[in-house]
């Protein structure tokens, strides 16, 4: 199939579906004036039933907690696939030499970059942990906090170079963090089954509204998700950055 034929078929498909899309857009409910009843029911019921003030966390970890379990295992599968692809073909040895690109010198790092990296890495990591812990009261949660904390680890790479980076990121610790987080979430479900209630029932004491330690089992699930997402993203960064190093000796890829 030549590129021109492919483009022609695509344009034909667009022309055929365009009237359907316009008809659909005209029949969609009015933007902003058609609230959905499921969301209104949760907004009305959740602060009283679950004692938390972040409705999105309530939906993620309690009312639709089973979907989040599926999403976590999707994350686990994607990270495992990336690691197997990259680490499987490269091996696990630490590579000391940066990658060689023909015609480009390897420059020493500038002082400004080192200063900013060393100053901001712990601050942003702290911010990520703050966002993850305050899941039940203000906008935040395990997903956001985990990603912010993993991105802060990159600043260690800019500030301290490859040896500082590998000193901080131990791949066994990250493996354990990621797998442990997903396992913790699944164990929360099995713990509620152990006392006779359905899977993922909130059986811990719920606490008071607007308190950081409210929500019961949602706190444990949130911690599991934060560990899994943070560990997963850090593993991805680690594997990708290892790809930019050269192998010692003469092994061909």
């Amino acid at each position: 199939m030549t590129p021109k034929l492919r483009l022609a078929l695509f344009l034909l498909a667009c022309i055929v579906t365009l009237p359907a899309i316009l008809l659909l857009a005209l029949h969609m409910p009015a933007f902003g004036a058609h609230p959905l009843p499921y969301g209104d029911a949760i907004d009305a019921a959740a602060p009283g039933e679950r004692h938390i003030s972040n409705m999105v966390s309530a939906v993620n970890f309690d009312y639709r907690g089973f979907d989040t379990l599926g999403e976590e295992f999707m994350l686990l599968c994607a990270v495992t696939g990336t690691v197997v692809l990259l680490r499987g073909s490269r091996g696990e040895a630490l590579e000391a030499r940066p990658g060689i690109v023909k015609g480009r010198r390897i420059l020493p790092r500038s002082d400004a970059v080192v200063l900013i990296g060393r100053l901001f890495a712990p601050l942003i990591m702290l911010f990520g942990i703050y966002v993850a812990v305050h899941a039940m009261t203000t906008p935040g949660g395990g997903f956001q906090g985990g990603v912010i904390a993993a991105t802060s680890a990159l600043l260690v790479f800019f500030g301290d170079g490859y040896h500082g980076w590998r000193g901080v990121m131990k791949s066994q610790v990250l493996d354990a963090l990621e797998g442990g987080g997903a396992a913790l979430y699944a164990l929360c479900g099995f713990a509620s089954m152990a006392i006779g209630a359905p899977f993922l029932t909130n059986f811990l004491p719920l606490g008071t509204l607007k308190d950081v330690w409210s929500g019961g089992l949602m706190l444990v699930e949130n911690a599991g998700v934060a560990c899994a997402v943070g560990g997963g993203f850090a593993m991805i960064f680690l594997e990708f950055l290892e790809e930019t190093r050269t192998k010692k000796g003469g092994a061909k890829e």
Binding site: N54, V56, S57, G99, I100, V101, K102, V131, P139, G140, G141, F143, Q144, V147, I148, A150, T151, L154, F233, I236, F237, F240, L241, E243, T244, T246, K247, G249, G250, A251, K252, E253
Partner: protein, 86 residues
């Protein structure tokens, strides 16, 4: 308020087209970062702060970095090197 949402939607359509029409991968990374930022602003205007948090971090920082690292490691010279080089 509706002006803000309408303006951000049109800006998003423009940056989305910008990502697709920038064919060189190294320049497309910057277009992707701008697209992520505009998307996060739209999410804030639509009263979704949790989603905006995730989208700023992922769409403007983590994802463009992964693209850049992949592009950098593709330009590397991976030919076999003599084994006695330090």
């Amino acid at each position: 308020m509706s002006i803000l949402i309408a303006a951000l939607l049109l800006l998003l359509a423009a940056t989305g087209a910008g990502v697709v029409l920038t064919r060189a991968p190294r320049r497309q990374v910057l277009a992707l970062s701008v697209n992520g930022l505009v998307l996060a602003l739209l999410f804030m205007a639509l009263q979704a702060p949790d989603v905006a948090f995730a989208e700023i971090t992922v769409g403007a920082a983590a994802l463009p970095l992964l693209f850049l690292v992949v592009l950098a490691s593709m330009k590397m010279d991976r030919s076999p090197r003599p084994p006695d080089e330090p």
